[in-house]
């Protein structure tokens, strides 16, 4: 073995340093820290390419906001990627309901039937899509019966449906605030169901948050968002409906907090900021798990007396509408929740339940 001299060492150190520096330069050349990496989110519904369909009036505002027509190519979309996601309601199809509310005691069947009633999973997930399912796995403390975390069978069957629709991969993630993700994934029972269904649990890495502009944001203009969520083709938001003392209820929009880094920042003026976040990250589909709901001591729970079994599932491409309906399960009005108010005002969706086409189905005996 030859001697490794000091000179050799310095040479290699310099070479290594130069390589690292070039990485740094390269990453600096991405052009400004706030630019989002190319995230070609395809329009969520391409089934009805005819723009001649009469759009439901509340989405007209969204159309005016520069949304591409449903038939346009997603790749040609401008760099402000909000436009690309487009609320799914912008691609209306008169035969599909705006929302399906399914009732029954078989969570897996609830998901299947509700999705087929809303137009089939194929309406949202196309072959080759990269899908992220975001349940609520906020703590590692309790099993699903305590209604602090999303029902594992709801998540599992969603994963299965996405894979059946030809999704390239389906990842499930959340960032628990109490306990480690590893522990929380296991104790919630979600990991078992997801892996059985063929999906994977992703433990959210600290370095994967990207500082992202929120062009439509009224109060929150910038936030660090998990990169994989930004670059996924489809995001399915699967909150469990439960009590929260500041937001009053944790539903679809509140569940999106799990994909950002600096959560204390969003606590002040929570309603508007949640709506701002939702304007940037619009889930393709919102599935509110109300199989069991937590009436008090949320979001952590732990007392079965606070749990109410409703055996209900709410499915809608409109996150505001889904949240609005879920609020009524707790005896509240949509307008009681600040983020629904803010979301409606921003045109992210509809909270006027009377104007929505809601299909209520009963599954099983």
């Amino acid at each position: 073995m030859t001697h490794f001299t000091r000179r050799d060492f310095l040479r290699k150190l310099t070479a290594g340093g130069a390589t690292l520096a070039s990485y740094w330069l390269l990453s600096a050349c991405r052009g400004g820290q706030t630019v989002v990496p190319a995230a070609p989110l395809s329009p969520t519904s391409t089934q009805s390419p005819s723009p001649t369909d009469i759009p439901p009036s509340p989405t007209a505002a969204a159309d005016q906001a520069g949304l591409p027509t449903p038939g346009s190519q997603p790749e040609s979309a401008p760099t402000t990627t909000t436009a690309e996601t487009g609320p799914p309601t912008a691609a209306p199809s008169m035969q599909h309901p705006d929302m399906v509310v399914a009732r029954g005691d078989q969570p897996e069947e609830l998901v299947r039937q509700a999705l087929s009633a809303i137009g089939g999973i194929e309406r949202f997930v196309q072959p080759g899509h990269d899908v992220i399912v975001k349940p609520n796995i906020c703590v590692a403390y309790h099993t699903y019966e305590y209604a602090a975390t999303t029902n594992p069978w709801v998540v599992g069957s969603l994963v299965k449906l996405c894979l059946e629709a030809g999704a390239r991969r389906v990842r499930v993630l959340d960032y628990p605030f109490g306990g480690t993700a590893e522990e929380a994934y296991a104790r919630s029972g979600i990991q078992e169901q997801v892996q059985a269904a063929g999906g994977s649990m992703e433990i959210m890495a600290r370095f994967k948050y990207v500082n992202t502009d929120i062009p439509q944001g009224l109060d929150l203009r910038q936030v660090d968002i998990y990169e994989d969520v930004l670059s996924a083709d489809v995001l399915i938001d699967v909150p469990i409906a439960k009590h929260h003392s500041l937001a009053r209820l944790t539903l679809g929009m509140k569940n999106l907090m799990g994909i950002i880094n600096n959560r204390p920042a969003i606590h002040r003026n929570l309603g508007q900021r949640l709506a701002d976040l939702s304007s940037r990250i619009q889930p393709t589909l919102t599935v509110v798990d109300a199989v069991r709901i937590l009436m008090d001591h949320g979001p952590t729970g732990g007392n079965l007396d606070d749990v109410k079994q409703l055996n209900t599932l709410i499915v809608s491409p409109d996150i505001v509408a889904a949240d609005s309906y879920a609020a009524t399960l707790f005896g509240m009005q949509p307008s009681d929740l600040s983020y629904i108010q803010a979301g409606t005002a921003m045109g992210l969706g509809r909270s006027d339940l009377a104007s929505l086409k809601i299909e209520e189905i009963t599954v099983g005996g």
Partner: protein
């Protein structure tokens, strides 16, 4: 005959040192691997506890101080048996600290004449006797000098956090390059769950432990394996036992006094003036002399006798001095401030407070390593000199996870009792108090419900009270103000950890109070 000659040719004396190095590296690897997988969700505690339980010094001291015998500590008998047969082979072949020091031979020439005087060797015996005497008086403070606790403390509190920082930093930089993203993602997904802490870990004064370890290594400049020769109390214990070890070094009559063995001996115990004989209490059975001897004169035959006494071996005087020193130390510590009343922030791991913690904890730091939130930190002044580097919960750095029992599982001596999750959830380790002078709803009349939101107790120990107050602008506003319900609080500290204020939290956990 021919067969024997061939075997002799195959097994050259030099192979002994090669074999020893191999065993040393494998043992070091095994110790590090057991350390790495002592994380929560890693290997079972019975496995990861093996290293500490192999250590006869900590096990003996624990037995003396706690007056309880742990079945697991019987593993130390393996080390004792090994020593009674092969002398200090533990030091030369297995000890992770010894191997680390061997790997960093800062002093190329190991000739003993250059080192300090042999009388220094008695330091380790005095340290050993004082440790054991203090253990008789239920004090285990001196176990901070045990080589295994030093090794694991350094790994837990310095090396691993630093490795985590470096790896995470590199990931942050490299993730900035879009083309590398999938690779970095895959790498992190593979490496972090197995090797690195799931959350960033922070310890108080990481550099202190690294510095102390570095100091130990730098002593190699004065003499190779300075620590093992002069200071190590475990080496002292094994050395005393080695005096009756069966296999001991001897020099054959055909020795030409070439002085090679004295030069290569890493502990400098080969004495030219005594016919190149060595002290079995100092010999680590490293076989360097066998490999170096040109004539094969260094041998390791079987003895059934007591080795010759050396001037630096402990006698009655050292024993009495150690006993006196231990007595004085225990008396002074017992009359110190820390013993009078608990430090307000001395929050012990769950279940540890009520069981004579200080006479059980061997200061190995396994619990701090296993704690997934790095909530358990080494005590500095909180527990007095007596409790130096025992674990305490520092909620601002990490909280006690409501779903975790890791510290009690990995504690090799059950100083932290191995509680079931249900039992652990009942443990009141502290009590939270709100600082109404800093709390946002109390001073700024704005909603902030973070402590209530985070509280893991089923019927929240933090309650919100809706009040109408006059704010600074003279407007009536309604605000939710947090209150702690004393009898529900378990002191897990997640409220203090998550409190959004900068600096000190507006809700702080104090030691539990018997009055309330």
């Amino acid at each position: 005959m021919a067969d024997r000659a061939r075997r002799k040719k195959w097994w050259r004396p030099r192979r002994w040192t090669t074999l020893r190095r191999l065993v040393q590296y494998l043992a070091l690897l095994a110790f590090v691997v057991l350390f790495v997988w002592s994380r929560r969700g890693g290997w079972p505690a019975s496995l990861v506890n093996i290293p500490m339980r192999l250590d006869p010094l900590t096990m003996l001291a624990h037995l003396l101080a706690s007056r309880t015998f742990l079945a697991g500590s019987a593993l130390a008998l393996i080390t004792l048996g090994l020593t009674l047969t092969l002398g200090r082979a533990w030091c030369g072949w297995l000890c992770p600290l010894g191997t680390t020091l061997d790997l960093l031979p800062l002093r190329r020439r190991r000739y003993k004449a250059a080192g300090p005087s042999d009388s220094w060797r008695s330091v380790k015996y005095v340290l050993l006797l004082t440790t054991l005497a203090a253990a008789l008086f239920a004090n285990l403070t001196l176990l901070i000098f045990d080589p295994l606790t030093i090794f694991f403390r350094t790994l837990s509190l310095s090396l691993w956090p630093a490795v985590d920082q470096i790896v995470t930093g590199a990931e942050f930089v490299l993730y900035g390059v879009p083309v590398l993203r999938p690779a970095i993602s895959t790498f992190d997904g593979l490496v972090r769950p197995r090797l690195l802490p799931p959350e960033p870990v922070f310890y108080r004064y990481t550099s202190l432990y690294a510095g102390l370890f570095l100091g130990l290594v730098l002593l190699n400049l004065v003499a190779h394996r300075f620590w093992c020769r002069y200071l190590c109390p475990l080496g002292g214990l094994l050395g005393l036992l080695s005096k009756v070890a069966i296999v001991r070094r001897e020099v054959a009559a055909d020795c030409t006094q070439c002085d090679v063995c004295a030069r290569v001996c890493p502990t400098g115990t080969v004495q030219p003036e005594a016919g190149y004989a060595s002290d079995p209490a100092e010999c680590t059975m490293c076989m360097e002399c066998v490999a170096a001897c040109p004539r094969g004169s260094a041998e390791f035959p079987i003895h059934l006798s007591l080795a010759e006494r050396q001037p630096y071996h402990p006698g009655r005087r050292q024993a009495l001095a150690s006993l006196g020193g231990a007595l004085a130390g225990v008396g002074l510590l017992g009359s110190g401030l820390a013993a009078r009343r608990d430090h307000p922030y001395l929050i012990r791991p769950p279940g540890a407070r009520e069981n004579n913690f200080l006479s059980k904890c061997i200061r190995c730091g396994e619990c701090m390593r296993a704690c997934p939130t790095s909530a358990l930190q080494p005590a500095l002044a909180e527990a007095g000199v007596e409790g130096l580097w025992t674990p305490l919960l520092v909620p601002r750095l990490g909280y006690c996870d409501y779903s975790c029992t890791a510290c009690g599982q990995v504690c090799p001596v059950q100083a932290i009792p191995p509680l079931s999750l249900e039992e652990k959830r009942e443990q009141v380790i502290g009590l939270a108090y709100i600082d109404q002078n800093r709390c946002i709803p109390w001073t700024d009349n704005q909603d902030c419900i973070v402590c209530e939101e985070m509280c893991p107790v089923p019927d929240k120990a933090v309650k919100l009270e809706l009040v109408e107050v006059l704010n600074a602008n003279g407007q009536w506003v309604s605000v939710q103000r947090p209150h702690v319900i004393r009898e529900r609080c378990i002191g897990c500290g997640i409220c203090e950890y998550k409190c959004p204020l900068n600096g000190q939290a507006a809700i702080r956990v104090y030691v539990p109070n018997d009055v309330i």
